[in-house]
Symmetry: none
Subunit: 190 residues, 4 copies
Amino acid sequence: MKKKMTEKSIELFEKKGFTQTSIQDIVDELEVTKGTFYYYFSSKEQLLMAIHLEYIDDLLERQEKILKAESSSSVEKIRNIIALLIHDIQDKGPSGRVFFREIRHLSDENIRIIKQKRNQVRLNIEKVIRTGMDSGELRPNLKPDIITFAILSLTNYSYQWFKPDGEILSDELVQIYADVIFNGIIEKND
Amino acid sequence: MKKKMTEKSIELFEKKGFTQTSIQDIVDELEVTKGTFYYYFSSKEQLLMAIHLEYIDDLLERQEKILKAESSSSVEKIRNIIALLIHDIQDKGPSGRVFFREIRHLSDENIRIIKQKRNQVRLNIEKVIRTGMDSGELRPNLKPDIITFAILSLTNYSYQWFKPDGEILSDELVQIYADVIFNGIIEKND
Amino acid sequence: MKKKMTEKSIELFEKKGFTQTSIQDIVDELEVTKGTFYYYFSSKEQLLMAIHLEYIDDLLERQEKILKAESSSSVEKIRNIIALLIHDIQDKGPSGRVFFREIRHLSDENIRIIKQKRNQVRLNIEKVIRTGMDSGELRPNLKPDIITFAILSLTNYSYQWFKPDGEILSDELVQIYADVIFNGIIEKND
Amino acid sequence: MKKKMTEKSIELFEKKGFTQTSIQDIVDELEVTKGTFYYYFSSKEQLLMAIHLEYIDDLLERQEKILKAESSSSVEKIRNIIALLIHDIQDKGPSGRVFFREIRHLSDENIRIIKQKRNQVRLNIEKVIRTGMDSGELRPNLKPDIITFAILSLTNYSYQWFKPDGEILSDELVQIYADVIFNGIIEKND
DNA sequence: TATGAATGAGTGTTCATTCAT
DNA sequence: TATGAATGAACACTCATTCAT
């Protein structure tokens, strides 16, 4: 039941937003009563926090696996991280959208916790870029922090427009975005 | 007074969000009463729509100017559009953030109107890219629609993290982002 | 309307208790809506605090008048204070009962404020007793603080059983209680 | 377990009040579940009634013992009853406070039962006073009912301020109160 | 004896909106 | 142009109580 509630909440939060979704909306859909909701969650915010934690913890865990792969080059690792972030939108699109949009409705303390984990994701990318610059895989004159923001912009903003069931597949999107990031769009006349 | 209300609303909507800001909050700051608000606006949503319209119409207008400049190359036009979108965050950050975050609180009909104008901005970029590909300035194998989304991701997502008063200047950000988009990050060993 | 609300609230709080009286109960009786209540009071507790303040401030003011009367002896002053406290039960019985019973539902800060004023009433009585002992009007071996509690017990507890519309008049009660306090109940065989 | 529940309830009811204490609060402290509570008590009110009954029945029983002592004078009996009532505050303070404060949360029928027993305590005192007046121990012109209320006011109100662990001992309080009641506070210049 | 899931009526509070003045 | 009193629907949350196991 707790699982069912979380899932239905993600669905509704994504469709209507956190504030616009009432506890009544959630329990109505599951055909239970409000009391039942509060049996499993102590508050609406706690539910939102649970959704956030599940999302970011899973993401961090999978990112660590990519980082630890010793056989990968930095370029491969970046490509894998881009794939990870983009695919998340396909696989768990709704919770991703909730994650990116509703964080502000958490309490200050919870925001701090989530932002710290989000920063970890960001700093992990930054580190790979630095390693790639040092090893000569990447151009030496880059600003790693800004490049990281560029990558996160591409992947995170995709939840705003990318529909996994649309014409373009998420694998294609990964390939195109990696190509842009790595090679740029200008024609080189060598 | 109407102007003052709009401005104060943008400020509050940005700080606390549309739903979390009450009419009472707005009128309290201006030291008038709720009646006054309803003299100038027929509803809270109408105020939000006014903010959206002002933002997007101004943006479209300035984008058109860039597009019409006959002396510019496609690459220059793209760079100018990136500059336009990034600078907006600096100059009218709050209304930009409101624009990107609160659209969902408009009525369906109003959402349609705003999205149409937003699409216009997007299609304008797409067209410049196509022109650049045709003229040989840009690589011929690009997907213009996706590249457009990439550009919009970089610029629009910047409102999430970019602080105009921080270390990095918006001019620098424009330059770095243009460099990434045009040249990529990989070291070319020609 | 605010006045009407306070009065009806006192009436209901006295009959059913603060917690058992809902805002709905109050507004139903006045045939208005809950919104109206919150137009005049920011919370249920604030209403309770208003009731407390009005009661104790009025009491203190009238007590001061008694204390300042230069022509009265200490015995007369004590008798007048007993009359003041007892008559309050008759004149504004309901708010007195609310005052003595519901203080615990105030916030800690508000409890502090009210208790301080209540202590003032108590200390004022204590001072009169000391003066009476010094001047020889009262027995020299009394404990003024305990005697004060005795007086307050008699008067304050009367709200628990004394009905002003019953057989015995409040003037009689004052006389009897003053007689007990001053002379005791034992038969003196001098 | 039933005993433990009653005791913990008294403790909580005294600290937070009957309405402010939830069944959940009680069972949490005992580390059992709500189901367990309803195994032993049919309702929250029934628990409150049990507390009241235990208190008043015990009091009545001990009062009867005092009344039956043939060797005591009326004055001695009154002094003993004052001691009984005051000491109860020391020995079972919490349940006394619950008794005096929360009776209103009983059902009408239960209120009737408790009030009847409370009246018995009162009428017993009244009877001793009458006997004392008839035998010449007490002043002949007293109103026994009012004097009884005076005694009960002194003793019952003491739960509002008297702290058994404070400076003054309950034995001293008994002595002082008895002295006031019997002798008054005025200096007699015979 | 005890649990834990579920109920449903109720609570204080918020707030966009209306309207006579 | 602006006010201020009033509305009413909604909201998050509480809690005594039930009952199958």
